[in-house]
């Protein structure tokens, strides 16, 4: 550590790589925190966790007993064991006793991404409610056609305030907080929708995963879904092959060129198409090229591709990576898949999962440095390398199956919750800190015994 600080002082390592290096070391030493505790007010399985996006300070939880609670992750409410264990009690809860409370289990609780003034809960009682944080009152509610499984809001939306809701129903609905009405109904899935996730690169793009095993991509400005992920489509051969060309033989080269002729023609067509759309920003232009290709190949998306599946069984969780380039999905086939968003292809990274809960939506999370995926695998939480799929950490602490992982990147802490009604904190450890603390406790004890 001291060496890294020295190198940062002299400018030998960049300040951001210094931070990344330190973060990754902390993340790789995650363990059950012995200094921080959330006092869970929930009397049912905790189904949803989210840290607010503005300050990274308030944790929102939703549980099967119909209650939702907010915790301050920074400031403890009181301390135990001579100030060494910080107890975080919830700031407030809303439960069944509350006038506006949900009647059945809360399946999803999310923050309004712009500030902490609002949060949204979705419940098995078919309602989706928007709450004012300061007064703890429901301000808007939406009646859904069935049990609400998952809700999501776009963290980068500048021009809309839409809540995407996945329910028992085959249709995904977008609820507009501004008007209090449904703005979109997205049809395509053949069964209920367990997971919804907004794109992290475009505010208009939504990913949904259904009980039919399909993952669909939607551009909410256009009708219909523009892509269905197919687990059998891989990235192999996506780039034209190596040209067998040497500096000497130009004949060879021309031959190679002509063999590519067909492909080239196809691509010119597409680029023309892309040119007609005046989309600004290079990547989106690229993406739209891809989109238009999809449409061109599959008019109406009603052919075989429309039946493509991402998982055998139910898609239980979706998570788009922060860099906006990849999508992770979890399925009841106990598989985690990593998808390239731009091409929609399966990267075939083999994640060493054991069993994954099959009947319930789960919440995955990722960290950037190092690129890790946190996955609830029954009673444990496993972390995998995003590119290797290898298990880097096994976090054991829950007594029953884990539902959610929520990673707080500013503190490098992981919060998990499960059917055992607990919210556990996993913090970087293995450092001298604990030894020092223990020593001191020992010292203190000595002092008292005198």
């Amino acid at each position: 550590m001291w060496k890294a600080i020295k190198d940062r002082e002299t400018g030998r390592i960049r300040s951001n790589s210094f931070a990344n290096r330190f973060k990754s070391r902390r993340i790789l030493s995650l363990q059950l925190s012995n200094r921080k505790d959330f006092v869970s007010p929930h009397r049912g399985s905790v189904n949803s966790l989210q840290v607010d996006l503005t300050e990274g300070r308030y944790l929102l939880s939703g549980a099967a007993d119909g209650s939702a609670a907010v915790f301050d992750v920074q400031r403890a409410t009181d301390y135990e064991a001579s100030g060494l264990i910080a107890k975080h009690k919830c700031i407030f809860t809303v439960d069944k006793q509350h006038d506006n409370g949900h009647k059945f289990a809360i399946s999803s609780a999310i923050w309004y991404p712009i500030d902490t003034g609002l949060f949204i809960t979705g419940s098995y009682d078919h309602y989706l409610k928007v709450w004012d944080t300061n007064t703890a009152q429901a301000v808007v509610d939406f009646k859904m056609p069935g049990k609400v499984y998952r809700t999501a809001m776009s963290s980068m939306a500048m021009s809309h305030t839409l809540i995407a809701a996945g329910t028992e129903d085959v249709q995904v609905r977008l609820c507009d907080i501004a008007s209090g009405a449904f703005s979109h109904t997205l049809s395509g899935h053949r069964d209920g929708v367990m997971s919804v996730e907004w794109s992290t690169s475009s505010e208009w793009v939504l990913y949904t995963g259904g009980c039919d095993g399909a993952i669909r991509f939607w551009d909410i400005r256009r009708a219909g879904c523009f892509r269905v992920l197919d687990q059998s489509q891989t990235q192999l051969g996506i780039r034209p092959p190596i040209l067998k060309r040497t500096a000497v033989s130009s004949k060879f080269f021309s031959a190679a060129k002509s063999s590519l002729g067909g492909q080239n023609r196809l691509k010119t067509l597409q680029s023309k198409h892309a040119g007609s759309q005046s989309v600004k920003g290079s990547f989106s232009a690229k993406a739209s090229t891809e989109k238009s290709r999809q449409k061109r190949i599959h008019p109406g998306m009603l052919s075989t591709l429309d039946r493509a599946t991402a998982h055998y069984g139910v898609v239980t969780g979706l998570k788009a990576t922060n860099n906006g380039m990849y999508l992770l999905s979890a399925g009841s086939d106990s598989r985690i898949r990593l998808w390239d968003i731009e091409t929609g292809r399966n990267t075939l990274v083999n994640f060493e999962t054991g069993r994954i809960q099959t009947n319930k939506a789960i919440q995955l999370d990722t960290s950037d440095d190092p690129a890790l995926v946190f996955v609830p695998c029954m009673k444990t939480v496993k972390t995998f390398g995003m590119w290797s799929g290898r298990t880097t950490l096994m976090l054991r602490g829950h007594y029953e199956s884990v539902n959610t992982c929520c990673f707080n990147s500013s503190d490098q802490e992981l919060y998990t919750s499960g059917a055992d009604r607990q919210i556990l904190v996993w913090s970087p450890g293995g450092s001298v800190e604990d030894e020092m603390v223990q020593d001191e406790v020992a010292e203190d004890k000595d002092n008292w015994s005198d």
């Binding site: 550590m1 001291w2 060496k3 020295k6 940062r8 002082e9 002299t10 400018g11 030998r12 960049r14 300040s15 951001n16 790589s17 210094f18 931070a19 990344n20 330190f22 070391r25 300050e55 300070r57 920074q74 400031r75 060494l84 980068m156 992290t200 690169s201 475009s202 780039r239 034209p240 190596i242 040209l243 060309r245 040497t246 500096a247 080239n264 691509k267 010119t268 680029s271 920003g281 290079s282 990547f283 232009a285 690229k286 922060n322 860099n323 906006g324 380039m325 731009e342 950037d368 390398g385 590119w387 290797s388 500013s410 503190d411 450092s431 001298v432 800190e433 030894e435 020092m436 020593d439």
Partner: protein
């Protein structure tokens, strides 16, 4: 201090990050373009050396700098990209001598993670496209059209995630890149891709090479006709192309920079991490590469960029030491080195630590920095104003005037120094042993005060006393002629040049004499209405021996008048106003412009531009230099004329860019000065001050003066102890034998000579982390405390450290006591007569205890947990401000009654801290990892506990440099009665060598500067069309922090 803080640059960035060579300013001229963090310097290669044409700031940190020549252009264009994803293409306009922005834009993306290994910006050698690697997994292409205009950019997916380097290959029909990358298993490979502009995608390229050297991190593309690429590793160098593969082993080294020597690319200069420079030669038969050869050339500063200029002259840019201009000789010198250093360019960066001291104890702050790294480490003494390096001094009381004289007018050096006292005149001369010795000039009167002396034509000397003017031969030293003042009219003031004498006697008589060969003729005599207070006939025309004009300052009507010689006709009369009489006037010319300087009795100085033909005075300006009467004298240093203003605050007046500038001289109270250019003391000045006569040389005339003390080691921490007049530093030395072994020391240095007095070696693996000079309660000794850490290779974080307490005895460090700690001691502070240490996550307070046997020890009193790493700590009273590694600033308070430390408030933002300082009781200053400065305010009147426990961010400013240290202090002399002296300031030092000052201003003054800044922003366009507003913004917020960068350096 207030919330209104203003950041000013005192020293621009000095570390060279990029450089390139090309024909930028015109097709025939060769230019060196150097990037220094946020600045671009354009130099012209001329027979005299490098000549700076332009030095401009860029509103952004420069990430890449490339010269390229689009089709159909005669000269090169400059491509610059900043770390915040802005780019611009600049062109030099020869007519107006300024930069024109050809193109600019934003290349940021919403997707992708910024690269860890730094941004890459490259240009296709055939100028078909610009390639950028800014985010992991993406390669951005900006194509050129046929006319050399930039078209819309697009991204291509790059499957390789850990990209180390990308370069365009030469001689390819389609633009082709070579990518050096590391895979999941940490193996390194090179792959090539063709860029297909039509498809906006890659096509697999002609070749690839797997499993390279594990340290490979640099690609050098080889131009046509050889083509291919050189892959520079730590142990091998590989040449690779579609049909050839050659490799040679090298001595283990990390190559940091390269420069191409020949246009055909057969020779390259490689600079490594230890400052060695190698020549790499590709041997070839026609177009077929037959092998590689490498040869050690010599040692330079540790290079960050190498640019081969011409004729074996090479620019070595460094960010760890001084940049150099070197010449590569054909034959090695005695030490076997082919490198000859022609010139050095001062680099302060990286400023790892510094302290502000007042070594001369005159209220003038100096900054002593720990600069440079590794073998190029040094201490630098930075001060405002000009220093005099004392060569010799004699005790002499009551000096009333001094002049130097030559033994013959053609001689280069001065021989005599005439020193005048109230009732006698003494003549000093250099003897054979180069000592000043009293001598005699027979023709001079030595029993009276001399009013003026000068060399005169025909090998004569002239002496003016109160009743006569004497002309003496400088060879025989005998009196040749004299002029006596009329009885009853004593000469009051007089002046002379080589052929003229002008004097004024009581009653307002002005007498003009001319000097001939042995003759002294009274040419003109006029009677003025008042007494004359001062005069001058310093020649400013073409003839250095004869002046056309005379300037005369008057009593009573307080005016200055210009007369034409020899007729003494009055042509100009300028009323000075006020009630203070002029005490010294001087005619002088700077950079071809004539000035009249007029110094008043109260320390003010007036300057006018003088029209030599009409005698008209224009552009009157008034500045305050001191509080006592000023005496003006010209002198020359480095073949330029300057004026020395002797007073209680002596100053040098010089001209730069046709602007008069005033620089303080670091001396107290100088009564007289004269240039004394003797053989033994060339280019020296004789200075009379405080009862002594000093002969010394003067520093280079510039605003900020930097003195370098090379120590050959990497100094990490510095601290000054006033009582013992010493500095202590923590430093480390890399063992030349083994790669990663370092030796750490605590060294004691003399505060005057900067010599090592004493050294305390630390244990193996023990690093010095912090140093402090302090004293404790009930003990009047002053100690040095050093905090250390044992950095063991197998540990991530140190688990053991020490606090060492030293006392300085007879110039030696004596260890008094040591205390073991459970971690690295990142920071030490004196705190209420105790010692406050930051040890890993903990803040720990130690008491200084007297043991029964009379020895002393540190005993821990209390501590505070709850930080990630408490890296930076400052204290004030009972308050402790902690800058955490990643948790911004928190405020702790020590409770005396309970003997405990508690947290009072914190800033909940997740700032990765780089430095903290306390501005006042409520406001704290921090610098973070993202090159920002910010201030937070303690919330004293919050209604709830929650509000009081949260610190509010009150000011933010993007400084664009990584700040390593803040210290209270000032570089400007603090005058007790001036307003400026009351403004509290904080100095900061950065990695790029920039030194800045943050001043807390009253709100009105801040508002004025802010307004000025806004107005300037409208007038001054940033280079490359980059916006100043956007550059300084941190996350769309900018409050209460301004900067002077648009204003230029204000001279008080």
């Amino acid at each position: 201090m207030s919330v209104w803080n203003y950041a000013v640059t005192a020293q621009k960035p000095t570390c060279v990050t990029h450089s390139c060579v090309g024909n930028f300013t015109s097709p025939q001229e060769l230019n060196l373009i150097v990037a220094k963090s946020t600045r671009i310097e354009i130099h012209l290669l001329s027979p005299q050396g490098l000549q700076t044409i332009l030095d401009v700031p860029l509103y952004g940190r420069i990430a890449t700098l490339e010269l390229f020549r689009p089709h159909g252009e005669a000269q090169d264009f400059l491509f610059v990209a900043t770390e915040r994803y802005k780019f611009c293409v600049l062109q030099w306009d020869y007519e107006s001598s300024e930069l024109i922005t050809r193109a600019m834009g934003d290349v940021s993306d919403r997707i992708g993670r910024p690269t860890d290994n730094g941004q890459i910006g490259i240009i296709d050698p055939d100028c078909r496209l610009i390639g950028l690697h800014l985010y992991d997994g993406l390669f951005k292409v900006i194509p050129f059209d046929n006319k050399g205009q930039l078209k819309e950019a697009f991204n291509i997916r790059l499957e390789e995630l850990q990209v180390l380097d990308i370069k365009f290959l030469y001689g390819c029909t389609k633009p082709t890149i070579a990518v050096l990358y590391q895979d999941n298993k940490d193996a390194r490979h090179v792959k090539t891709y063709e860029v297909s502009l039509k498809d906006k995608d890659f096509v697999e390229g002609p070749w690839s090479q797997n499993n390279l050297d594990n340290g490979a991190d640099l690609l050098i593309p080889v131009p046509s006709p050889l083509c291919g690429v050189l892959i520079i590793g730590e142990e091998t160098i590989v040449y690779c192309s579609a049909n050839a593969f050659k490799a040679i082993p090298i001595r283990p080294s990390i190559t940091k920079a390269y420069g191409r020597v020949d246009l055909d690319g057969s020779r390259y200069l490689l600079g490594d991490h230890s400052g060695l420079i190698h020549l790499l030669v590709i041997t070839h038969e026609k177009e077929k590469v037959t092998g590689l050869k490498i040869e050690l050339l010599g040692e330079t500063s540790i290079a960050s960029s190498i640019s081969y200029l011409d004729n074996a002259v090479v620019f070595v840019g460094s960010s760890y030491g001084d940049s150099q201009l070197i010449k590569l000789n054909l034959q090695p010198d005695a030490t076997g080195s082919y490198v000859e250093i022609l010139e050095k360019y001062v680099n302060l960066g990286p400023i790892v630590d510094f302290c502000v001291v007042d070594l001369e104890r005159q209220g003038q702050g100096q900054v002593v920095t720990c600069s440079g790294a590794y073998k190029d480490g040094s201490l630098r003494i930075v001060r405002n104003g000009i220093g005099i390096n004392e060569q010799a001094s004699v005790e002499l009381q009551g000096i009333k005037g001094m002049w130097s004289l030559k033994s013959s007018i053609d001689e280069a050096f001065d021989t005599f120094l005439v020193v005048s006292f109230i009732s006698e005149t003494r003549i000093l001369a250099m003897n054979i042993e180069d000592e000043l010795e009293e001598t005699e000039i027979e023709g001079f009167l030595s029993q009276v005060q001399t009013l003026f002396c000068h060399d005169a034509v025909y090998n004569q000397l002239v002496q003016v006393t109160s009743n006569s003017v004497r002309l003496v031969s400088s060879t025989t030293r005998e009196l040749r002629n004299k002029w006596d003042a009329p009885a009853g009219f004593a000469v009051n003031v007089a002046t002379a040049n080589a052929s003229q004498v002008l004097l004024a006697t009581g009653g307002g008589h002005l007498v003009y004499l001319e000097i001939g060969d042995g003759t002294l003729t009274e040419v003109k005599h006029v009677l003025l209405e008042y007494e004359v207070s001062c005069l001058d006939i310093n020649p400013i025309g073409d003839n250095p021996n004869y002046s056309q004009l005379a300037a005369v300052g008057m009593w009573t009507d307080i005016s200055v008048r210009i007369f034409v010689l020899p007729d003494l006709t009055l042509i100009t009369k300028e009323q000075l106003g006020g009630e203070i009489i002029p005490r010294s006037v001087l005619l002088c010319a700077f950079e071809g412009i004539s000035y009249l300087l007029c110094a008043l009795g109260d320390g003010h100085l007036l300057n006018f531009q003088l029209d030599t033909s009409s005698g008209k005075l224009r552009d009157r300006k008034k500045v305050s230099l001191g509080t006592q009467p000023i005496t003006l004298r010209t002198f020359s240093s480095k073949s330029a004329t300057h004026v020395f203003a002797a007073s209680d605050r002596p100053a040098v007046i010089y001209s730069n860019n046709k602007k008069l500038l005033y620089s303080n001289v670091n001396l107290k109270e100088v009564s007289h000065m004269c240039p004394f250019n003797s053989a033994a003391f060339p280019d020296s000045l004789a200075i009379a001050r405080e009862g002594e006569l000093t002969i010394g040389t003067i520093d280079d005339i510039q605003k900020l003066h930097i003195r370098t003390i090379p120590i050959g080691e990497h100094a990490r921490r510095i601290c000054h102890q006033e009582q013992t007049r010493t500095f202590a530093i923590c430093c480390l030395r890399n063992q030349p034998s083994a790669e990663e072994s370092e030796m750490h020391f605590v060294r004691l240095l003399d505060a005057q000579s900067f010599e090592f007095l004493s050294t305390y070696p630390l244990d193996a693996f023990e690093y010095g982390c912090s140093i402090l000079s302090c004293s404790f309660t009930d003990d009047k000794n002053v100690y040095y405390c050093v905090g250390t850490a044992y950095v063991l290779p197998e540990e991530n974080e140190p688990t053991k450290g020490r606090i060492l307490v030293f006392i300085v005895e007879e110039g030696r460090l004596q260890l008094i006591t040591e205390k073991e700690t459970k971690g690295a001691v990142y920071s030490l502070n004196a705190f209420n007569g105790k010692l406050l240490a930051a040890i890993n996550q903990k803040i720990q307070l130690y008491k200084w205890m007297l043991r029964d046997d009379g020895t002393r020890e540190l005993q821990s009193e209390c501590g505070h947990h709850g930080h990630i790493l408490a890296l930076y700590v400052q204290t004030r009273g009972d308050f402790i401000v902690v800058g955490d590694l990643m948790k911004s600033i928190s405020l702790l308070i020590y409770k005396h009654e309970e003997g405990a430390i508690e947290e009072r408030a914190r800033d909940y933002n997740a700032n990765w801290m780089a430095a903290v300082e306390i501005l006042d009781d409520d406001i704290y200053l921090g610098a973070d990892n993202c090159f920002n400065l910010f201030t937070v305010k303690k919330n004293n009147d919050g209604a709830t506990d929650e509000e009081r426990a949260r610190m509010e961010v009150v000011g933010e400013y993007h400084i664009g440099e990584f700040v390593n240290r803040f210290r209270h202090g000032s570089l400007v002399m603090r005058l007790p009665d001036s307003e400026i002296g009351q403004i509290p300031t904080v100095i900061f030092g950065t990695v790029s060598g920039m030194i800045g000052v943050i001043a807390s201003l009253p709100q009105e003054q801040y508002a004025f500067l802010e307004k000025l800044q806004t107005s300037l922003r409208k007038v001054i366009k940033g280079v490359g069309g980059l916006s100043h507003e956007q550059w300084r913004i941190i996350q769309q917020r900018e409050k209460n922090c301004g900067s002077e960068e648009l204003l230029g350096w204000r001279s008080d």
